[in-house]
Symmetry: C2
Subunit: 205 residues, 2 copies
Amino acid sequence: MSQASFSTRERILGVAEALFARHGFAGASLRQVTAGAKVNLAAVNYHFGSKEGLIEEVFRRRLDELNRERLAALAALAARSDITLEAVLDAFIRPALQQSLQAHGGGAFVRVLARAYAEHDERLRRFLSENYGHVLREFAIVFLRLLPNLDKDELYWRLDIIAGAVTYAMADFGIIKRRSAISEDAHRRQAVTHLIAFAAAGLRA
Amino acid sequence: MSQASFSTRERILGVAEALFARHGFAGASLRQVTAGAKVNLAAVNYHFGSKEGLIEEVFRRRLDELNRERLAALAALAARSDITLEAVLDAFIRPALQQSLQAHGGGAFVRVLARAYAEHDERLRRFLSENYGHVLREFAIVFLRLLPNLDKDELYWRLDIIAGAVTYAMADFGIIKRRSAISEDAHRRQAVTHLIAFAAAGLRA
DNA sequence: GTCTATATTTGGATAGAC
DNA sequence: GTCTATCCAAATATAGAC
């Protein structure tokens, strides 16, 4: 919105995100990225050093924001005395939804994130656990306060299950064919409601 | 156990499965596969025609067996009158566990399957939904009978959530670092118990 | 910062001998 | 069925002009 659409750097990041979501990190080539962004092939190396550098920047751009929003939503809850399980789950899940609904292909990133889980690449996992693990632990503390009868190990198990369910649902990786009339955004919006109800029941079990 | 270890074909499939699990379909090269299986590079094209053919055979080998076992477990239940939700979930989840515990790297396949979800490749998705979708629908029928108050759409939502959680948990993609003392197999065994309890609660909600 | 041109590597696939 | 040798396309990366 500042001047003429987006900078070269921004366009590369946007196209890379979309292509990584579609074809994976190894499956998307820099040639596809630069062609899609209508920039020169050499631009990637100039701006990000290497393909690895580009991948990390795709993550950093979104994760920083996502984590900030989740923690902010959690902090807003902590001030209140009538916290519900559903409210905490909402604080965790809704920011991911909001991001996925953003213009300029925000929906692609949740898929990139789901792909990242599948990558057992040590480098990427460490990078993610440093960003993402911290937030999960913050939430765990609040969950433990709300579920005093729940064993700590047990909670971690269930949070892991929830994290997996959230990731897959938001990425829309389901096997069961959805009615084609439903848009991706509508799918995600509905998914949030279902996920919260489902997860709350699972945690209370 | 028949003669001298495994045939060329079998060794290729085993190594390919492991490498696809680790690096993805695009990320694992045929050169890595053939080197790992200690066979000649040309052997892949001879036995499977192409890399795509190899990928499909890796799926077919396991999915045929997995689906047969799931349906058998479901059929065994159908004869009885006292079916519980937990028993049906067990019939769905346990065969996946059993397969993942098999010798010769059975654990790799659940990861390959998890990767497949992430691939939005149309060809692969169609192939999977033809194998996997049918089983899910069979189970859905039984679930609907056990949960008469549950809307059909609502059930599909929850089954999708469960399928995602199962895949994710069995593939051990969790972010929260597990105690390193726990082996992968032990992790999966525990995961099944937790998943069943969690999913049953979610379905009853 | 962006381009062209190119170096270098790697990957999938095949031809043809054995 | 298995091997060697090779072809060809595609990919990452860089050098150097503008």
